[in-house]
């Protein structure tokens, strides 16, 4: 008979951790995308990026708000966003990768959106109605994110020699981070067992099918490198997250509880 290590993790702890994982990815990518505000190559793209950031940060507010409620320790969504150190964040490493050029930003968004859409579809049928209703809301917004990022990946990949080369370089750079979303741990197994969240591995076939189809249409070549980078969901992050938090959290760290 197989061992059941999941039963050693209390149900609320599993739910809290699951909410942090999905909420932190939305928050950190939302902040990254917001860094483009006022700097995008065209006005329409500037507006689109700001809107995507706003949706993601709005979704993070809902996820982290529920996480704080489950935790019941007197924290709220803002406390979770602004008063945790890097080691407390549970976002995917893909989400924290720096913007670099527009190609990296667009490719990161597409690789993330394709996972996000699958993840939210699974969360929308969660046995926890509070999780399901946030996911159903976010799903509608993410459909637009994915539509945009797919269109851009195809347009830029199958574009000029310059845009093609940049998109290929972006794909190669980000590819090692694309295995992490599908590699679960004991918490994920417990969440899937309880029907709170989908099994991460079960999302991979849908993600791969979409990514391979879009990249083929974009005339981009799938890298043959290993998708080995991970650590985000256990709080082991790269240098990039610390720098991001230094900016994102500055005000609440310097002036705790500041209001305006």
């Amino acid at each position: 008979m197989p061992a059941l290590p999941e039963t050693t993790i209390p149900a609320d702890a599993v739910l809290f951790e699951t909410l942090l994982r999905v909420g932190d990815s939305a928050l950190i990518l939302g902040h990254r995308v917001s860094e483009w505000c006022g700097h995008a190559p065209t006005l329409e793209e500037d507006i689109a990026l700001a809107n995507v950031a706003l949706d993601l940060i709005g979704q993070a507010t809902l996820w982290l708000g529920l996480a704080a409620e489950i935790e019941g320790a007197g924290r709220d969504a803002d406390a979770l966003a602004f008063r945790r150190d890097a080691g407390g964040f549970r976002n995917l490493l893909l989400a924290e990768q720096p913007n670099r050029d527009f190609a990296v930003t667009v490719m990161r968004q597409f690789l993330f959106d394709a996972w996000h859409a699958e993840m939210l579809a699974g969360l929308a049928v969660s046995t926890d109605p509070r999780v399901a209703e946030i996911a159903a809301k976010a799903q509608k917004e993410v459909a637009y994110h994915l539509e945009r990022s797919e269109t851009l990946v195809i347009g830029l990949g199958d574009g000029t020699p310059e845009s093609h080369a940049r998109m290929q370089a972006a794909l190669t750079r980000l590819w090692p981070f694309t295995g992490e979303p599908f590699r679960g741990d004991a918490t994920d197994a417990a969440a899937a067992e309880a029907g709170i969240a989908p099994d991460p591995a079960a999302l991979e076939p849908g993600w791969s099918a979409r990514v391979e189809a879009v990249l083929a249409e974009a005339t981009l070549t799938l890298p043959d490198t290993a998708r080995f980078r991970s650590g985000g969901r256990s709080g082991v992050h790269g240098e990039a997250l610390g720098l991001l938090l230094a900016e994102m959290q500055f005000l609440q760290r310097a002036y705790p509880d500041a209001r305006w």
């Binding site: 329409e44 949706d55 809902l62 859409a117 809301k137 637009y144 979409r210």
Partner: protein, 174 residues
């Protein structure tokens, strides 16, 4: 005065009528009730509970809308008031009535194509954008094209008319 409608505890019909006078902060030509975001008005004992659903998770107008509702109802003498947020069922552009759609068009915003916000999911947005015929709110031409899935507020996309050449906002279907 209808039964149960008193100065201290006005009937919910009367409260709905007051809310119908409150403009959306970002698209002031339509009201909060036109937009379909006020989901319920009810008395719980001596407390009036107004249930509101956000259009988009991160819509910055959500906080202002709650403040506007609170201020308007306090001015009407409502002492005990609570504003509840409800996420489910998620807001859809299908909740905009025919009158609201006409107000949007007259204001220069192409209204959402009715019934087009059916099921959520990734495949839907794409098929929508590709098969959609959006009439220019200025000249009525349907020779229009999308410039971006996103526009000046979370609920709008940027489009352009190929006849009168004017750019315009299209109210997104979700």
């Amino acid at each position: 005065m209808p039964a149960g409608d008193t100065v201290d505890r006005p009937a919910t019909d009367r409260v709905w009528a007051w809310l119908a006078e409150l403009p959306d902060p970002e698209i002031p030509v339509i009201s909060l009730t036109d937009l379909g975001i006020v989901r319920d008005v009810a008395w719980q004992g001596d407390t009036l509970v107004v249930t509101v659903t956000p259009t988009y998770s991160g819509c910055p107008a959500t906080g202002i809308i709650s403040l506007d509702i609170e201020r308007a109802l306090r001015e009407r003498g409502i002492g005990k008031l609570r504003i509840d947020r409800q996420l489910s069922p998620p807001w859809t552009s299908d909740w905009l009535g025919p009158e609201a759609r006409e107000k949007l068009r007259a204001f220069g915003i192409a209204p959402p194509v009715p019934g087009s916000a059916a099921t959520p999911g990734a495949a839907r947005a794409r098929s929508l954008a590709e098969g959609l015929s959006v009439a220019c709110p200025r000249c009525g031409s349907d020779r229009t094209e999308r410039l971006s899935q996103f526009g000046s507020t979370p609920c709008k996309a940027a489009w352009r008319c190929r006849d009168c050449l004017e750019p315009f906002d299209y109210f997104k279907c979700i």
